[in-house]
Point group: C2
Chain length 252, copies 2
């Protein structure tokens, strides 16, 4: 994993001057974490500390410059890995931000959002050449003031996530292969920010036929809960438009 680009929005730019529009790619990465003391997961996201102006010292979304020979999707994957060492289970374009004043020099940011499984989030700590000093996880609801317009971008990404969890099965992007219905429900509850009726939740997911029951159970100090697995055959009304040519196309 070689560093072919630096953090976006300024510094180390591919073109030298401020007479060109540069294209940056950033990603809002969501994962879950169970705060110590609580068993309920909350939505967290990794941010990187800027090491140069503008906004030096402030936290910002991970990202980097678009290379001339890589697609937007590829740039999102690459910069995400380079800055955080994470491997996402879901990656989807969010929006292109291009207001003139959002950075001192002209930058158009193509922003993605991604999901990382709780188990995979720990790879960051062991990860290769990631600058751990300057990466940290934050609760999505309690962010400090971020660089550029990144607070608004995160808000928008959260809105999209909450929206999408309602009509697609992206929740599986935050879960391991096998999980109980209670664990799945906790993912929904963490994203939506409210409790769901276990009985009704069970019926809804069961009627959608997206889950395959296994013969295994998760034990605890109560009745064992059946483990489920996502049915990969089922494609929900999820991606919407025609799949264009393989990669780099709309995901919704």
């Amino acid at each position: 994993m070689t560093r072919t680009s630096t953090l976006p929005e300024a510094g180390g730019a591919p073109a030298s001057a401020d007479d060109v529009t540069r294209v940056a790619v950033s990603t809002v990465i969501f994962s879950l974490r169970r705060p110590t003391g609580s068993d309920r997961p909350t939505v967290v996201l990794p941010l990187v500390r800027r090491t140069r102006d503008p906004h030096e010292g402030q936290w910002a979304l991970p990202g980097g410059w678009l290379d001339i020979a890589e697609s937007l999707d590829a740039a999102a994957s690459r910069t995400l890995a380079e800055t955080t060492g994470l491997a996402p289970s879901h990656l989807e374009q969010l929006y292109a931000f291009g207001a003139v004043e959002r950075s001192p020099t002209r930058v158009v940011s193509i922003v993605y959002w991604a999901l990382v499984r709780e188990e995979d989030a720990s790879t960051m700590l062991t990860g290769a050449d990631v600058d751990l000093e300057n990466v940290a996880w934050f609760e999505a609801g309690e962010l400090p003031p971020l660089a550029f317009d990144h607070n608004e971008i995160v808000e928008y990404a959260l809105w999209r996530l909450r929206n999408k969890v309602g009509y697609s099965r992206i929740a599986h992007g935050l879960l391991p292969d096998e999980f109980t219905l209670a664990e799945l429900r906790e993912v929904y509850e963490a994203i939506l920010g409210r409790r769901l009726d276990p009985a009704n939740f069970r019926r809804q997911v069961e009627s959608s036929a997206t889950l395959i029951p296994t013969d295994d159970f998760r034990t605890g100090s109560h009745r064992p809960a059946r483990l489920y697995r996502y049915n990969r055959d089922v494609e929900l009304a999820d991606r919407g438009p025609v799949r264009v040519h393989g990669a780099d196309d709309p995901a919704r």
Copy 2:
């Protein structure tokens, strides 16, 4: 209206060589037209004929290059006006397309979609310095093979339009100030491609409280129909995320 940029994807580029990524802005413009012989409207869109390579002679989406000092939204408005002379009643970002091979030189296209009222669509014919020879309207469902990946882009825009008509009130962007419920229903029918029950349609829009009944009626060879006007106060769960800073922010 001065032409400050040429058609996107190649030719007359702001930067000379193929060692930079250029940003283009294109727009899928939807309007309605009643085919002669039929009273039911169909969805149509304007395309421009390319006058230079690549894809010279082929039809393509109207657009142009992003200027260094203008926002993405502004670029969409400007290029839309320059190439077609149209003024949209709705303008919204669709997606950023950035596959490497979508053009001989590296181009990232920020694509918008727009609505133009039937009445305003005729301004194109009288419009200022628009090259009428190379602009034409096509039925959205019967497009010829277009330049670049523009066929897929139009499909995606159509999908978004159909989707959005279900949960927002964008349909008003295709209607004049006052309209009957039958006219509103015809817009929905044209977009969705299927007939709707007039009785149920009436109840749905009436219960949503987005329409203000006027005291005027449209007469014909039947019982006069009441004219309605859109209630500008009502904001549906429409734009979703926080309005960022005025312009150039996500619309959904």
